[in-house]
Amino acid sequence: MSYFTQNSLLSFLGYPVSLQTFLPLSAPSLHFTMDWQGQKLAEQIMQIMLLVFAVTAFVAGYVLGSFQMMVLVYAGGVTLTGLITIPNWPFFNRHPLNWLDPSEAEKHPKPQVTVSSKKKGFKRHQLVFYYCR
């Protein structure tokens, strides 16, 4: 499936897509994104779930008198946390940023470069803004 048709299909299905996508490590054929709110949510979920599973595993192991039980419960918890927080699930992309098309950006004037005439000849760097809607 070409990249263009993938994006069209996903837009049709209701998944927000953007032209700037981050490739996951395992590179499945569909490229999802995770927005900034989603990243924060993923990190919070990961930390809280790991701590909760750690406490549960320790209590379970101590009460049952079995070290193996503690390790097994914790390993299961780590796997579950990984399945929830690592892939780019759609619920991590509920506040997407709508980047402007390059063709739209051409229509708006860029801010001018101001060269300040200080004694040492210091020159400000040019800043280019892409406007977000």
Binding site: F22, L23, P24, L25, S26, Q39, A42, E43, M46, Q47, L50, L51, A54, A57, F58, G61, Y62, L64, G65, S66, F67, M70, Y74, V78, T81, G82, T85, I86, P87, N88
Partner: protein, 167 residues
């Protein structure tokens, strides 16, 4: 947490750090255990008691060792290493300790036992001081944990002595 690899790395690092903290707490929980072990050693027979050609005394004994070490096991115990040592004093050494027998107890069910055995390791003195000598038999144990600190302790049983003459 920007990409798949970044989040995977974060998950693995955090989970392993938390696992290390859990193991440290598990080791600390071993201090809550108050063990009450008992042991008794009877010397059934002195098989022989000779002076070697080099001049050192050697003795062979048959012992009956019985012990109840079940209270030493906790959820964090992998196994118990126990050994019996004979302790005595000579003019040359203020303390001699000779290990006579040892065993590994892998589970709580096996910790209450008795065994009738001759000494596993040879009992040889540094010199020929053993005739009529009084000695103690001590049962030492090392509680080897699954994770963390190892505890070691012993029970001293006194009142044993060698015969006056070689046999």
């Amino acid at each position: 947490m920007h990409s798949f690899g970044h989040r995977l790395n974060g998950l693995l690092t955090f989970s392993v750090t938390i696992l290390a903290i859990m193991c440290a707490i598990a080791s600390l929980s071993d201090n809550l255990n108050t063990p009450s072990p008992t042991a008794e050693i009877k010397i059934m027979n002195i098989n022989w008691f000779q002076k070697q050609p080099q001049g050192n005394d050697e003795v062979s004994l048959t012992m009956n060792i019985s012990a109840d070490l079940q209270s030493l096991f906790t959820w964090n115990t992998k196994q118990l290493f126990i050994f019996v040592a004979a302790e005595y004093e000579t003019p040359k050494n203020s303390l001699n300790q000779v290990s006579l027998w040892d065993a590994i107890i892998p589970a709580k069910e096996h910790a209450k036992f008795w065994i009738h055995t001759s000494n596993k390791y040879r009992f040889v003195d540094q010199g020929n001081n053993l005739r009529g000598k009084k000695f103690n038999l001590t049962l030492h144990w090392h509680v080897m944990p699954k994770t963390g600190k190892m505890f070691a302790d012993k029970i001293v049983m006194a009142g044993y002595s060698f015969p006056e003459e070689y046999r």
